[in-house]
């Protein structure tokens, strides 16, 4: 058995960093949303690891709420994605820099 939660934290930070690089790097709105999911996943992993270390269930409850909020966020974000796509015919975020009204 491994000692401590260090390796889990490292994995969480790696996931977060990869997701952040994705958000900065990509132009496709959909893939940016996927990257945000990867980031959230890394944070959730960190929370669960700390919850385990402290023997406190609060961290896991927080992850539960994070999941609920993510579900709501994704539903609305993808709908907005679809509307923007219908409006502009593309999911390239550079096109959306000229949104108005």
């Amino acid at each position: 058995m491994m000692t401590g939660i260090g390796p889990y934290l490292v994995t969480g930070v790696l996931l977060f960093t990869i997701g952040l690089a994705g958000v900065l790097m990509r132009r496709n709105l959909l893939i940016m949303l996927v990257s945000i999911e990867v980031m959230l996943n890394g944070v959730n992993l960190t929370l669960v690891a700390h919850s385990r270390q402290l023997g406190d269930v609060t961290g896991q409850v927080l992850v539960l709420f994070a999941m609920l909020v993510t579900a709501a966020e994704v539903a609305v974000a993808l709908l907005v994605c679809m509307m923007l796509y219908r409006e502009r015919g593309s999911l390239d975020v550079d096109i959306f820099s000229r949104l108005k009204g």
């Binding site: 000692t3 939660i5 996927v34 960190t46 509307m83």
Partner: protein
Amino acid sequence: MGLIFFILFSATAVIASLLAVTRREPIYSVLFLVLTLCATAGLFLMLGAYFLAVLQVLIYAGAVVVLFLFVVMLIRREDTDKPRFPGLQAKIVAPLVAVLLGLPLLFSLWMRDGSEGREASGTLLPSGGETASIGRALFSTHILPFEVASLLLLVAVLGAMALARERK
């Protein structure tokens, strides 16, 4: 044994997330996201968070990813996913910024590991990840956030419906 499983899940999560972020086709991106989420669910299991592992598969890998797949299905393929900034900048600057933010994060978490907390030995506590203990915490201490979360979901559903109808 635990180490083997940890390396398996952790490596799968990291590699799949790298692929999810770098693939050109959104469909591959989303499918690698599923792999990342399932590997993370495995890590949750190893941490004793059984309830969250199941929820991760059900909510994330189930519901959320299906939404993504619907959108991927509805949009036309586009080959125009060029880097956001011209030249090498996107390939170099964006990962560099991410790493520069990630390294201090890694460092601080690594330094903090084991220095506080009730157990530093590594033999982990009886998990508290069972459904019963989470339910107890959820319906006693965290009952207000729980209700607010249900309200949030309701608002999201209504908002989505309102937005979708406005188009027609």
